[in-house]
Every structure is written in C-alpha cells, then in structure tokens.
C-alpha cells in the first residue's frame, strides 16, 4: 500500500480573502473566522490586508480595521494555530514586521515578484532573527521561466527561508506547468527547505493544480474557506481537503469542520461569493494579478470601458503585482481611444 503523504495547509481567508471583501473584514469577522479555522486543523492562518503589512492605502484600498488590532484579534481567537502575516518589500517594512510580532504572529510570508527575490533579503534575515517561521513567496510565477525561478528560489533559501512558494497570482497555470515548476524547485533547493504552492481559481484549476503540486513535491498548500480570495478566489479549503482524502493525502484538516466554517461562519459574512465570472476568468486568461479584479471593475464603470479590455491591456504591458495605479491610467487611455 502506498505511504500516506502528509502536507500542511495554510489558510489565507483572512488575507487573500480580504481582496474579495475590499479589505473590509471587521474585528468581529476576524475573530469569528479565526476561531472557526482554529478548530479545522490548518497549520497556519495568514491574516493581514490583502497586500500585506502596510497595504492599507489609496493604491490598494484602506482596511476597515487598524492592522495591529486585526492581527491581535486573529491571534487571540486562534490560540491553537500559528498566525502568519504577509509582507511585500516595497510596501511593508521590517518596522511593520516587528510590530506584527508584538501582536503575536509567529510566521511571515515575504512576497516579491518572481524575478525580484533579492529585495526580500533584509526582511527574511530579520524575520529569522526574530525567530519566525519564514516563507518566501514568488508571485506571478507563471511569467517567469523555470530556470530563473529556480535561481530566485535559491536566493530566498540562502537568506534563510524555511519554505519557498510557487505563487500562481494570476491563476494562469495549468497542471503541467505547476508540475514542472514545483519539481524544479524541489530538485534545486536543499532538502531542509520546503516547497509550497499557492493557487488562484481563475481557470478553474486550483484544486487540480494543488494536487499536481503535491505530487511534484510541495508540502505546504494554500487554501481558503469557500475559496475566498482575489480574482476567482483561491483553492477552496473544504473541496481541497475532500479531494486530498480521496487521493490518500493527509492534510491534518477535519473535513466537516472546514465545511462548517465555510458555510456557517464565512457564508453569512460575504455579500458576493467569489466566482469565475467573465472578468475573473479574463485574469487567468490574460495572466494578470488577481487582486486587480475589483479595481478594474470600478475603473470600468467610471470610465465606461469593458473590464476585460483593461485587463487584457494590462497583461500585454506585463504589469506586475502592486501596480494597481496602472488600471486607471489604462482605462483613461482606452476611453480616449474609443
């Protein structure tokens, strides 16, 4: 009989899910969701503004709650589970990280565009010296060729990351690409450095891609309740756990607890479920950062241009994560040329 594969799940409902609610989760929402997640058996709960520490801004949208109050609420409501913050160098700083540690986080995920790992050195080293579990996060991995990704992953590992992720921020990858990229990292990184995978469901492949990643050697997988996340959402936790059980993969997550958290706790708190509508599908199709979705919809209404045209144009210009300001500029240009 095949050996049972063990992996660990990081839940991103309270971080990536923030994009889907325009960063408006209240402290009460945060406590209820973190409390429910604490009972599921996920290994790590990630919580912050969708764009990480310091992300609350005009560029990305202001959070409803103060960053530190939000983190404290999550840490208090999930006493049995490690809590992580996301940090994008260029947006968040080491100073933000230290304040987050004072709020009780025990892990950090340091995210850069998939060719820019060296801007994470300062933050990864500092996070290690603060005693955190440290993950390097290579965003928009679909834009970068495998040999380059491998070199960038090695840099993050050399700074001290315990795990490096292939991040499909645009939900643009299919299973073969996931297999190729995850296997390449697994082969190249020292054995003590883990490999992880983060999916978006823009092409409907989040669960299948996550399973492919596990087969290729990933041992940390991101998921969220009901798939709440940017674009068409992330890998839905409850669906993923069920699929893993059927594939002989042990996630450590209780299936019914995850289902109940998704339907009873998260369900009533979201006004608009994530779905693969024409705009979010276009993200995956055009290879564009999933967080752009709601910003593009807003620009579409304001300037009278199709959100799909905006997203496809952004894809052509090879815009990267964080460049939300380009959405308005492109919309203005498209409107002028109509």
């Amino acid at each position: 009989m095949a050996e049972v594969q063990r992996i660990s799940v990081t839940d991103v409902t309270l971080r990536d899910g923030m994009h889907a609610v325009r960063h408006q989760f209240s402290l009460e929402d945060a406590r209820a969701i973190a409390g429910a997640l604490d009972k599921t058996g996920v290994a790590l709960i990630e919580a912050t503004h969708g764009d990480g520490l310091g992300g609350s801004s005009i560029q990305y949208g202001f959070s409803k709650e103060d960053e530190e109050a939000y983190l404290r609420a999550v840490c208090e409501a999930a006493p049995h589970t490690k809590v992580a913050a996301l940090l994008l160098p260029g947006i968040g700083t080491v100073e933000h990280l230290k304040r987050a540690v004072a709020c009780g986080i025990r892990a950090v995920r340091v995210a850069t565009h998939s060719t820019e790992a060296d801007i994470s050195e300062q933050h990864i080293r500092e996070a290690r010296s603060l005693g955190l579990d440290v993950v390097g996060f290579l965003m928009l991995s679909h834009m970068t060729e495998t040999p380059v990704l491998v070199e960038e992953a090695k840099k993050m590992a050399s700074y001290g990351a315990h795990c490096v992720y292939i991040v499909d921020s645009a939900g643009a990858m299919l299973m073969d690409e996931v297999t190729e990229k995850v296997s390449a990292l697994r082969d190249a990184l020292p054995s003590e450095v883990q490999v992880g995978f983060h999916a978006h469901n823009n092409l409907g492949c989040s669960v299948a891609n996550s399973l492919a990643a596990i087969r290729a050697g990933a041992v940390r997988i991101d998921a969220s309740l009901a798939g709440l996340g940017a674009g068409a959402g992330n890998t839905p936790l409850e669906v993923f756990v069920a699929a893993c059980e059927k594939s002989g993969i042990d996630t450590g997550v209780n299936l019914y607890a995850a289902m109940d958290a998704a339907e009873d706790v998260l369900g009533p708190r979201i006004s608009r479920p994530v779905r693969t509508d024409r705009a979010s599908l276009t993200l995956g199709y055009a290879g564009v950062y999933s967080s752009f979705l709601l910003h593009a919809e807003r620009a579409s209404q304001r300037f009278g241009v199709d959100a799909r045209d905006i997203l496809v144009e952004l894809g052509k210009r090879k815009v990267v994560g964080g460049q939300e300001d380009m959405i308005v500029d492109v919309a203005v240009e498209l409107a002028a040329h109509k």
Binding site: G90, H123, R317, G322, Q323
Partner: protein, 295 residues
C-alpha cells in the same frame, strides 16, 4: 571662470551617471571618482574621462591629502554615516545621494536655496525627487491631509544598494512627503517591474485635499502644471501621463520620467532625476560660494 572641484564616491549606477552630468557643468569640475572595486565599470569610465580614480575608499583618499570642494556620496546609507563624519572633520561640503539623511532633505524643485549653508545635505530618494514637488504643488494651494506615492521603476535600474535597503526608500520618501511636501501624513510604495524592454520610471501621486471645490481643483491643476514645467528645466523628460483626476477628495496625478541616457538608457529616469537634482544643488552651492568669495 573658475569652478569648484568635486569628488564622486561610489562608482555604481548613480555615481557614474552623476559623473557624466558633472562633466557638462559650468560650475563644478569632477576631478576624482572613488570606489571600492578597481574592476568596476564606473571607475573604468572615470579613468577614460580623465578623472583621478581610487579603489581604496574615501578615507584613504582624504588621508592622502586630497581636498575636493564638494563630495557627492553615491554609496549606501551605512557607508555615508562614516563618510559624513570624515567630511565634516575636514570641512568639505557633502551632497548625500543615499537615504542616510545626516543632513536636511533637499528636493531640487522645492527647497534648493534653503540649505546652501548646510555642510551636509540629503537628496532623499529618486522617488522623492520625482513626487515631492507634486505634493508641494498641491499643498501650496490647499491643505493636504494625506499624500501617498507609488514609484514604479524598471528592475534593471535598481542596483544592489537599492535592493538591499528597500525599506529606507519607503521610509525616507514617506518622511519627505511630510517634511518638504507638507502633507500632514505621507506614505510611499515602490514597485520593481522586470518587463523587457524596460519601462520608464513612473510615479502615481495621491493627495487627499481639505477642500475639493471645483475652483480649488482648478488652482491645484494649474499649480501642478507649473511645477511640471519647473522640473523640466533640469529634467527634460519629466511629464504628466494624463490630466490630474479628482475623485472625492483624492487628487491623483500620474507622471513619467524619461532619462537623458547619460549612463543607463533612457528608461532609468529614476537615476536621472536623482543625479540631476544633486548636480543642481551642487551648482547652486558653487554659485553661492563663488559669489560670497568674490563679493
């Protein structure tokens, strides 16, 4: 006409671009280029241009008795802390292009004349030189409660110094939005974009203004346009991407900076705006000092 002599410390992207600009100056003569890597492209170009070069660092050069009138420091914040002390001891004017901020901030388009008597001035960051003038242009018309800027630069124009200390960029730029831009609160974000061909430096500036009445916004727009023309006098490739937009109380401005291509190609407008600002301060300082001496 006599010129002040200048040394450039740091032979990376910024130092080398600075040298090319100083070679054209009527007021400053770049005579020394000081680095730490004898094989660096910057030192090689400096030798070719007839400068005296050293790969031994600033201290060794000062110990050997070299005394420039002005030293431009294009190393790193950490190194500048040491350099600032050395230069103060021997009474040499320091123009700091690192985010060390030992001296007062100078944004060339805004407060050039204020610190001509300060022995050490700090040129903030490329993002600061590009965006603080716009925030100032808004705040001279109407109070700015909050200013936020997003600087996007091509990956190729960001050298190792910038990459290893990206927090210093966001923190120093954010502070300059308050101190010089006069926003009551400031925040800065930087994004590196690896697209090929490389993108031009691009900045978005958001200002939350106290009164968004139409006549106020008209005056804000005029003030911004006049500031853009002013910056163009020393950075010709500085321009608005689109008309400023008012959304509620938020004024949003998008600018682009095309470089002169002195060292790196034109996409590296972020280098140009920084080095052009430093040269502009150096020239004003030279005029000031030479006129004082003559007077």
């Amino acid at each position: 006409m006599s010129k002040l002599t200048a040394a450039i410390v740091g032979s990376g992207n910024i130092g080398t671009d600075l040298m090319v600009k100083l070679l054209r100056s009527d007021w400053l003569e770049p005579r020394w280029m000081i680095g730490i890597d004898p094989e660096s492209d910057g030192l090689r170009r400096a030798r070719d241009a007839g400068l005296e070069t050293s790969a031994e660092g600033l201290k060794a050069v000062l110990d050997a008795g070299v005394r420039p009138d002005v030293v431009f420091d294009a190393t790193s914040a950490k190194a500048h802390v040491r350099h600032a002390k050395l230069l103060r001891e021997v009474g040499i004017q320091a123009i700091d292009l690192t985010p060390a901020a030992r001296g007062p901030y100078v944004i060339a388009a805004v407060n050039l004349e204020e610190h001509l008597d300060s022995p050490n001035v700090n040129m903030v960051t490329c993002g600061g030189q590009a965006t603080v003038p716009i925030v100032y242009a808004v705040s001279r018309v109407i109070g700015v409660e909050y200013a936020e800027i997003v600087a996007t630069i091509s990956s190729r124009s960001a050298g190792p110094g910038t990459r290893q200390n990206i927090d210093e960029f966001t923190e120093t730029t954010g502070k300059a939005l308050e101190v010089i831009g006069q926003a009551r609160k400031g925040k800065a974000i930087i994004i590196l974009n690896p697209a090929n061909p490389p993108i031009l430096m691009r900045d978005t500036i958001y200002c939350v203004i106290d009164d968004p009445a139409p006549d106020v916004f008209d005056r804000v727009r005029e003030s911004i346009e006049s500031m853009v023309r002013h910056v163009q006098t020393y950075v010709p490739g500085y321009r608005l991407n689109r008309e400023p937009i008012l959304d509620g109380r938020v004024v949003s401005v998008s600018i682009e900076v095309e470089g002169l291509g002195d060292y790196l190609p034109v996409y590296a407008g972020n280098l140009d705006i920084m080095t052009a600002a430093a040269v502009k301060f150096g020239e004003e300082y030279a005029k000031h000092r030479l006129s004082v001496v003559k007077g």
